[in-house]
């Protein structure tokens, strides 16, 4: 097991370098001219301005030269300067990462809660209406485009019924608390403003559900399959024979035995959540990495695109590594290939 973990850790720097290289190469095959994002249309005819802009942003150097400079800068935490915001990309990304993380963690909590409850219910009431309902809920969750679901729910709950807040992280009239962790729900508590905390939580509800639904479906399907198997084992019969109540049998005896695969699927769902967050953030005007990536992609802001892609890739890589390692540690029977 130690050898497996070591081997995975050794591969990490190479994978990260691979991510950096691929992300860098992508933007060099571009057909769009990044100059259009820097120089205004009128100045495009002015060769001096164009040459100055090229020199300023390093666009006059050769590809290998730019690659070496980029990797060198990256090692000292410099991801270049965004064409659009004119701020360092690393700073932009760090500033926006916590908002995405807050959304993803909230979605994960929503997804895991709904998914585990539905999975347990579906397994216990196998082949009844409850089971079929849970299956439909799961299938819909992985089929609905999040950007459409977000729009629809915003329209119904916020505009029509007015029971949930509109887009954003706080009420438009509220002033944000000083940024400590970047998690709005935590920062408001640090600032000692409980009403603002509730407001932040309130704003988090709809996007977290929109993002968490698909994951809830995946989790419920897996929990159900494992629960069906565990519930048919003999120790469950023993527990019942000893007079344990049904609730105790299902939760304490059966559910506990499905924890390893459940935690694993929750870990892997992170990938889906990161992908879904891009679109959810766009709909809910959530100032995270996803909406930053969309703005960068729309505006041909290449330093920003490379930066976001690299950071997203690294976050993704490490959560998958953690999940894999946790799975191996929790389940010594797995064969390591």
């Amino acid at each position: 097991m130690t050898r497996y973990i070591l081997r995975r850790l050794i591969a990490m720097p190479f994978l990260v370098l691979g991510i950096v290289t691929l992300a860098f190469l992508l933007t060099s095959v571009t057909k769009g001219d990044p100059l259009t994002a820097i120089v205004s249309d009128r100045q495009m005819n002015n060769p001096e301005v164009v040459a100055a802009a090229k020199a300023r942003w390093g666009l006059d150097r050769s590809l290998p030269e730019r690659y070496v400079i980029y990797v060198g800068n990256l090692l000292s935490g410099d991801m270049g300067t965004s064409f659009i915001t004119r701020r360092p990309v690393a700073q932009d990304v760090l500033y926006r990462l916590p908002a995405t993380m807050e959304l993803v963690v909230a979605a994960m909590i929503v997804g895991a809660t709904i998914g585990i409850s539905l999975g347990v219910l579906a397994a216990y009431f196998r082949n009844t209406a409850i089971d079929h309902g849970a299956r439909l809920f799961a299938l819909f969750g992985s089929s609905i485009p999040v950007f459409w679901l977000g729009l629809a729910l915003l329209y119904v709950f916020s505009v029509q019924w007015g029971i949930l807040p509109g887009p954003g992280r706080l009420d438009a009239r509220a002033t944000a608390p000083p940024m400590v962790t970047g998690f709005m729900t935590i920062d408001t508590l640090f600032a000692g403003d409980f009403r603002l905390f509730l407001d932040a939580l309130w704003h988090l509800l709809l996007p977290a559900f929109v993002l968490g639904w698909a994951v809830a479906g995946t989790i419920s399907r897996l929990v159900r399959a494992n629960m069906v198997e565990v519930l048919s084992r003999e120790f469950i019969l023993t527990a019942r024979a000893k007079g344990a109540g049904e609730f105790r049998v299902v939760i304490r005896h059966a559910l506990r035995n499905t924890l390893v695969p459940t935690l694993t699927v929750i870990g892997y769902s992170f990938a889906y959540l990161l992908t879904g967050a891009v679109l959810t953030e766009t709909i809910f005007s959530w100032p995270g990495m996803g909406s930053y990536a969309v703005e960068a992609a729309r505006g041909l802001d290449f330093p920003a695109i490379i930066g976001v892609t690299i950071v997203g890739g690294i976050v993704f890589l490490f959560t998958n590594l953690l999940t894999d390692v946790a799975y191996v540690v929790a389940n010594p029977r797995v064969r390591l290939g």
Binding site: A11, F14, L15, G18, I19, T21, L22, A23, L26, T27, V29, T30, K31, G32, R135, L139, F140, S142, S143, I144, P145, F147, W148, L151, A152, L154, Y155, V159, R224, A225, V228, E229, A271, L274, T275, G276, V278, L279, T282, I283, A293, V294, A296, A297, R298, L300, F302, I305, I306, V308, T309, G312, G313, F316, L317
Partner: protein, 278 residues
């Protein structure tokens, strides 16, 4: 639909309700792909009514900001989404499966190089990578399609390699090598024919996810460009006409039903092949 209500004994065992519902949904959209011009009352780009009209008998799903019929545009959307998904998956399978087969069969250095490429590509969140590629190539459906092939091929490379590694060890392959067959012949005649089925099944099931990804790219403006009646960009129109809810309703339901169709079929097949979960 009447098959749904047949008693269990009158229905073949593999023909479960999820499979039937899935097949009906997909069939509907396949028909729309071919017959959209005859199924819809108006041409997708014609401005046929007043702008932003709510659903009525004249326009069952209302009209959009330019007075175009949303239902007609939704039906025509199938002619973009489905061919693109099929093309993307076909290219991804062609590239992924050939590289995977070579990696598994040749092994050694070639295997290492190909599989490290796979690892790196799979290290990105798919949507972010697709966005980065699509943005680099510039907006447009073709570039979005290239981006999706780049995101998707490693899945089939892994699958194919695993298949080849397994089949390569079988006795008939050993016999073919012993009787002096060339490398190419062993791979082409004795190994590959036994590897295709799982790859093709998984490719078919992936079509729904590819449709979803393509729509997502179009939604953020990196796929289809106006006035193409593509579902993702139609929902984007709907987002900018937020209070006219019907503009996004048609395309949203379209994506939902077709992806649901593929997921129903995948779920049904899963039940059939994995009785444990029944």
């Amino acid at each position: 639909m009447s098959v749904l209500f047949l008693s269990r004994s009158a229905r073949p065992r593999w023909l479960t309700p999820p499979l039937i519902v899935g097949a009906v949904l997909i069939l509907f959209w396949l028909v729309a792909t071919v017959a959209a011009p005859w199924m819809s009352a108006h041409a997708p780009l014609d401005m046929v009514g007043r702008r932003l009209q709510p659903p009525s008998w004249d326009h069952l799903l209302g009209t959009d900001a330019l007075g175009r019929d949303v239902l007609s545009r939704t039906l025509h959307g199938a002619r973009h989404s489905i061919p693109i998904a099929v093309t993307v998956v076909a290219f991804a399978v062609a590239i992924g499966a050939s590289l995977g087969a070579v990696a598994g069969f040749v092994g050694g250095f070639v295997d290492t190089v190909i599989m490290r490429m796979v690892d790196v590509t799979l290290s990105f969140p798919p949507m972010l990578l697709a966005m980065a590629v699509a943005a680099s190539l510039g907006p447009g459906l073709e570039n979005a399609a290239i981006a999706m092939v780049i995101v998707w091929w490693p899945v089939y490379a892994r699958l194919m390699r695993a298949q080849v590694l397994e089949v390569r060890e079988r006795e008939h392959v050993e016999a073919a090598i012993a009787s002096g067959a060339t490398q190419g012949r062993v791979l082409g005649k004795h190994v590959l024919p036994l590897c295709w089925t799982p790859v093709l099944i998984s490719a078919t099931m992936d079509l729904g996810q590819v449709i979803l990804l393509a729509a997502s790219l179009s939604f953020i403006g990196l796929g289809a460009t106006p006035p193409t009646p593509e579902w993702g960009s139609m929902i984007s129109d709907g987002a900018s006409q937020f209070y006219s809810w019907w503009v996004a309703l048609g395309p949203g339901l379209a994506i939902l039903t077709i992806v649901l169709g593929f997921n129903f079929i995948g779920d049904g097949l899963h039940d059939y092949f994995d009785p444990r979960s029944r």
